[in-house]
Assembly symmetry: C2
Homo-oligomer: 137 residues x 2
């Protein structure tokens, strides 16, 4: 793909409030969901006006798929993980974003989905920064 055209891209305020910045990969802004119950990354393609997966051109979809694979591998490195959940929902926040979540059979929402499971527990600052540091390595 060509370099992404970021003009007009702005992160949705709700996504911004719920997450911490990890990195900008080639296409996606990578965010850590600030919920210590689940190791949970969110990928937001830095393109204005995207809502559905197929709003992305096919070369950018392929790039996104590669970045989803990379996020999956990263989560396996930093977290105990019985299953990975990948989802693009967007019922509440319409800006296209992909959830990649490491699930454990001992986590509080298992085997249900993390979305709508309530009871967010924010990371302490030290734990959050340590995890982000690991994710950036």
């Amino acid at each position: 793909m060509n370099e992404p055209d970021e003009s007009g891209f702005a992160l949705n305020p709700q996504l911004s409030a719920d997450t911490a910045f990890v990195a900008d990969w080639r296409l996606s802004r990578v965010l850590l969901m600030d919920d210590a119950r689940f190791p949970w990354l969110i990928l937001v393609p830095r393109r204005a006006g995207l809502v559905e997966l197929d709003d992305l051109a096919s070369d950018e979809q392929a790039q996104l798929l590669g970045e989803i694979n990379h996020a999956m591998a990263l989560l396996r490195e930093v977290a105990a993980c019985d299953k990975l959940n990948v989802g693009a929902l967007g019922n509440i926040v319409r800006q296209l974003h992909i959830h990649v979540v490491a699930r454990a059979e001992s986590d509080p929402a298992w085997p249900g989905p993390v979305w709508g499971s309530g009871g967010t527990i924010r990371y302490g600052q030290v734990a959050r920064e340590a995890l982000i540091e690991k994710l950036r390595r």
Copy 2:
């Protein structure tokens, strides 16, 4: 991609029980979730032993992505749709399968996820067959 190697592939019995067969696309078996509350397709790559998205080789992932796009387009044709939800969870059924769900702001789980929303309402036989017929066209 090469022709998929279907040897050893068998549809998980739970998936089979919850769905109706629609078609075999190049990589995926396409199933209709038998829940009249949500127009809901499930794509199951016909390969043995897959659990995670990244268990698929990259060319097959690309094929799957194309088939997801096709499923999205199909659902838009047959259903009112305010948002599409795409997800690979697999916490309960481990065989790799991708959900593609047409969501409406008036549906009973909105804006929550369909997974774990309970209260499945099976299609009547006539309605199910009519919808499958539309999906095959």
